[in-house]
């Protein structure tokens, strides 16, 4: 990571070697102290997207399968919640509440698709690292930038194909 940097408490960044006396050294590394790099981002994104998929993604999958197995009326209700026709929403009274929930569910559905493609890309990066490849500094950094970018591009491509077909 090219020199671990520490803040000296006054917002000034120094290298570890010149961090001064024992007294004003941080007692333990703390999240804010590290200079963020794409490697940390891809690491935490893998965890966030994996956990998001596990809770929201698998939840939605079961809701979908349960609705299908329960018949057309249940499926209509499912579709009306997760992918409501925005034009038909009634923004008055309790309609405001259901409208908001339906808007949030749309964001959740798009978020799940983004989580999958992002988690898939960083998961493939895990496979490369698992076989011992891609540890050269430049290559490793490039991979950790490409993975989240690929995740976004695949998400855009998915929705473009789905909505424009």
């Amino acid at each position: 990571m090219g020199g671990v940097r520490v803040a000296d408490g006054k917002g000034i960044r120094k290298s570890m070697a010149e961090a001064g006396t024992k007294k004003n050294r941080p007692l333990s590394p703390h999240l804010q102290i590290w200079r963020w790099g794409p490697h940390m981002l891809v690491s935490i994104l893998h965890r966030v997207s994996g956990s998001g998929l596990a809770f929201a993604g698998l939840g939605l999958l079961l809701w979908w399968l349960g609705a299908l197995a329960s018949g057309p009326a249940a499926y209509e209700s499912f579709a009306g919640w997760v992918w409501a026709d925005l034009g038909t929403l009634d923004w008055s009274g309790t309609g405001i509440l259901t409208g908001l929930v339906k808007l949030i569910l749309k964001i959740v559905v798009v978020g799940i698709s983004w989580s999958f493609f992002t988690h898939m890309s960083s998961g493939l990066r895990h496979f490369v690292l698992d076989i011992g490849a891609g540890f050269e500094l430049g290559v490793n950094r490039l991979g950790s930038i490409l993975a989240p970018v690929a995740g976004i591009l695949l998400t855009v491509a998915f929705w473009a194909i789905l909505l424009l077909r």
């Binding site: 965890r47 994996g50 956990s51 998929l53 596990a54 993604g57 698998l58 999958l61 079961l62 399968l65 349960g66 299908l68 197995a69 018949g71 057309p72 499926y75 209509e76 579709a79 992918w83 999958f116 898939m120 998961g123 493939l124 895990h126 496979f127 698992d130 998915f158 194909i161 789905l162 077909r165």
Partner: protein, 128 residues
């Protein structure tokens, strides 16, 4: 755990001897997820629309139904393994960790069972 001798303090805290197996299963199920979820993504994109009739017509066929059942098993297994690591990283108190892992196992097995049951019910013709 004893708190007397140094050997007594660390006894039983070593490797659980199952880490490599967990790691490998996470990879096997990841490969399963990769194939099966990409198959689901492509299938969804190839359906004419996502109305009840179109989805039913597709999902009740033997190959899609089998693949969906495998998808449910692979994703739930993978998520159970993955969330176990997340719990172990963030929940330190022994009893809380035990409760979290127990709840995770219940949710994973229950969820997967429900998903597979729905698919079998659809595939065996219990739909309008």
């Amino acid at each position: 755990m004893g708190n007397g001798t140094s050997i007594g303090r660390v006894r039983g805290l070593g490797s659980a001897k199952s880490g490599a197996h967990h790691w490998l299963l996470q990879r096997f199920t990841a490969i399963g997820n990769l194939l099966l979820v990409l198959w689901l993504v492509v299938s969804i994109l190839m359906l004419p629309n996502l109305h009840y009739a179109s989805v039913i017509e597709w999902i009740v066929k033997p190959v899609p139904a089998t693949a969906m059942a495998l998808l449910v098993i692979s994703t739930f297994w993978h998520a159970r393994l993955g969330l176990q690591v997340v719990v172990e990283d963030y929940v330190h108190e022994h009893a809380n960790k035990f409760a979290c892992i127990a709840a995770l196992n219940l949710a994973a097995f229950g969820g997967a069972a429900f998903g597979v049951f729905c698919i079998i019910r659809l595939a065996l013709g219990a739909h309008a």
